[in-house]
């Protein structure tokens, strides 16, 4: 009996101590982690899409409710007008591929795309992120039709040897386009507030 009580007490104390320590560390790092994500994952992708924006898209962002989720929307003031960036994911060869898509709010065409997170094979699928020529193909495409690779009847040339990844990127782009169409009234309204 004594032994049993000791086991329970030791485990409980140990777990409580561990829980407390972790909660403290999590509270202290949460803000930094959020900033790190913005700088390292979203930041470079957004800068790539909004090269030459007159504002700081990382600062000019707002959230839009989409069903149960909240979507981050980044606003860019470009030469040709205003554009927004949203992120979505497509199923790749090594898990989800995150893609940021910039959409011009006036012409409703794609301004540019950039891959954020992925676990694709280096030298193969990973080229979707590294090869600017692949991302450049999305520029100017209308968001009316689904965006697809040529093999599926679309206009995007897949990266050779990485069809699955290419498809993941086009699927993510299509899903951002749909998200934009779904949330359009709210996005348009909020974007109006941003001016040079």
């Amino acid at each position: 009996m004594r032994e049993m009580i000791k086991m329970v007490v030791v485990l409980t104390v140990l777990s409580a101590f561990s829980g407390g320590l972790l909660a403290a560390i999590k509270n202290n790092t949460a803000e930094r982690i959020e900033n790190q994500k913005l700088t390292f994952v979203k930041g470079p992708a957004i800068k790539q899409i909004f090269a030459g924006a007159a504002n700081d898209p990382l600062a000019d962002r707002f959230k839009v409710a989409d069903g149960n989720e909240e979507r981050d929307v980044f606003v860019g003031l470009l030469d040709g007008g205003k554009a927004v960036i949203m992120e979505s994911f497509g199923k790749g060869y090594g898990g989800d591929v995150g893609v940021m898509v910039g959409i011009d709010t006036a012409s409703e065409t794609i301004v540019g795309i950039a891959v954020t997170t992925h676990a694709e094979t280096p030298g193969m699928g990973a080229r979707a992120k590294e090869d600017p020529a692949f991302a450049a193909q999305f520029k100017g495409k209308s968001i009316e039709k689904p965006i697809q690779v040529t093999g599926d009847g679309g206009e995007i040339n897949a990266i050779s040897g990485a069809t699955v990844t290419s498809r993941a990127v086009t699927n993510a782009a299509t899903s951002v386009a749909e998200m934009y169409k779904r949330l359009k009234p709210e996005i348009q309204e909020k974007v109006q507030a941003f001016n040079k």
Binding site: V10, L11, L22, T29, I33, K37, P122, G123
Partner: protein, 197 residues
């Protein structure tokens, strides 16, 4: 029987160097050695966890009832792993991105649990620290070396710098899991050859 502190430390660097001599912890060794940086990062994370868990387990060895020791070890190890994960996310985010799921998986790394069970639970704190540090550094060196071989052959780079020039066609096989097995096997063979004398 009683070895000196230095001996406990040094054994982790050659005599019992993981994952070659103690063929434990193969999962991270195969999965995250695509580049030198990933290998070293993983090694350092594991070293930190090994050091802290060895220390704490050794301190608590008189208090922990033997029947629930494994559960206690896991709580201790899991706590330190989560600490590493959070700190890594907060300060070295790019490294966290490339190591991903393998950081939480340090919890079930047999090396860490193995050292707690086989060593720290029975030894005073100083030898336990030396043991954790030695095994951890050995693991880091192994992963770094395996990462170097795989990165050089599979991607033509070393720490991100191109080493073979533009004419080199990457040997993509080395970046895949089978390449990791082959690389590990060859290194193990080499070590056995050298150690045989």
């Amino acid at each position: 029987m009683a070895k000196s502190i230095t001996q406990e430390f040094v054994k982790g660097l050659w005599d019992e160097i993981p994952p070659f001599r103690l063929v434990l912890g193969l999962c991270p060794a195969l999965a995250v050695t695509k580049s030198v940086q990933d290998g070293l990062g993983m090694g350092m994370a594991t070293t930190f966890v090994l050091l802290c868990s060895n220390m704490l387990v050794s301190l608590l060895r008189k208090v922990i009832p033997p029947k629930v020791r494994i559960a206690c070890f896991i709580v201790v190890i899991a706590t330190f792993v989560t600490v590493v994960e959070l700190v890594m996310q907060a300060y070295t985010y790019p490294l966290f991105l490339s190591l991903g799921i393998f950081i939480p998986l340090i919890v079930v790394n047999c090396i860490v649990l193995g050292r707690s069970e086989a060593f720290a639970f029975k030894q005073p704190i100083l030898p336990s620290i030396a043991d954790g540090l030695g095994i951890g550094i050995g693991f880091t060196l192994s992963l770094g070396a395996l990462g170097a071989v795989r990165e050089a052959l599979g991607n033509g780079t070393l720490l991100g710098h191109s080493i073979f020039g533009a004419g080199f066609e990457p040997f993509a096989f080395m970046q895949e899991a089978p390449g990791a097995f082959v690389g590990l096997g060859l290194m193990l063979a080499l070590m056995n050859l050298v150690g045989k004398k």
